[in-house]
Symmetry: C2
């Protein structure tokens, strides 16, 4: 079997694992995982040592997919109103991706069994995002906050928790709120506060 073909098989297994783990969490059945991928169970074990390895590999790969999808250079060039509107919109769009939402749920759910995945999530996805945001705030003359990193965490936290409440906990049914409302208020909060911080100097 060629290496290319091996990679294809590995891919099929991961696709099956993705569906099964997203649906059932780590409790997903290995027979089901193999079936979802259209391969024999033994094939799964040829490519992955055990269930833990497969799960970690899958979540790892999921994270890679979302690493670069964030702050681009051109985004950092925008003026504050456009910057925050765009940044917020990008962050909130992730709510529509069941694989992104499911990944977050699995990382939180299995943070006890797989602390290294929680760590990777923070290190590879959260920290760079917060640091870019903090850097933007720091370098914007009009955003005169005393602690840019703390402000960045507040903004990031508000967005992430909105996703968790609405999508993971099904708040979109029991306590719905349009994204525009959250986005608008976040913008109002940040820009108004910045304006006042400037005056207070």
């Amino acid at each position: 079997m060629t290496e290319e073909r091996q990679a294809k098989k590995r891919e099929k297994i991961l696709e099956g694992a993705l569906r099964a783990f997203l649906r059932d969490g780590y409790a997903a059945n290995m027979d089901v995982i193999a079936a979802e991928g259209g391969v024999a169970k033994q094939t799964v074990y040829t490519y992955f040592k055990d269930k833990e390895t497969l799960f970690a590999a899958l979540v790892d790969r999921l994270m890679e997919r979302f690493v670069l999808a964030g702050m681009t250079a051109e985004l950092m060039e925008l003026e504050p109103p456009a910057f925050f509107r765009t940044m917020t919109q990008i962050a909130l769009q992730r709510m529509d991706d069941p694989e992104y939402v499911g990944m977050i749920r699995m990382i939180i759910a299995e943070s006890g069994r797989f602390p290294e995945l929680a760590d990777m999530y923070l290190t590879k996805l959260v920290r760079p995002g917060i640091e870019s945001l903090a850097q933007y705030i720091r370098e914007s003359p009009s955003l005169n906050f005393s602690d840019p990193e703390a402000v960045a965490r507040i903004i990031h936290g508000a967005l992430v928790n909105f996703m968790i409440s609405q999508e993971i906990l099904n708040g979109k049914y029991s306590m719905p709120m349009g994204r525009e409302r959250l986005a608008s208020s976040l913008l109002e909060l940040v820009l108004f506060a910045a304006e006042q911080a400037k005056r207070a100097r």
Copy 2:
């Protein structure tokens, strides 16, 4: 056996279940749960139909414990600076309670298997908190935001996600930040923005 004694037994079982579920999540073993509670496994099944029932009863009881610990009437009487400082401090103190943190983790982790628990969490704990906060904002002449409920969600989300990042995902080791910093910036953000909103009228 008296009813009082029955309640005691039930309590012992729930205490064992609490320790086991907090440590191992829903994957916790029923033998271990019984052992942790110092009772025979059969006794567990005398009081609870099955594992699902026990888990739901436990999380339900955990939620009850935290329902009233929030907005008090006297808190609502405070002026904005003192109000937000106190409210934030109360919210952040929950991070020190492993049972609160573990409850949140379990609710998110099992939101697929137990959607009714996620719903109860939102309905009994989150919504009342957000509504009190929104009401306070709405009724404070100096807090002139265009959408109080959205602002309340932002504040709440920032606080909850700070707990998730620091405690559940172990960010207190990999990307630590003192609570005072988050609290101070949140205060700065809200009060400055409110001041500016007033000017903008």
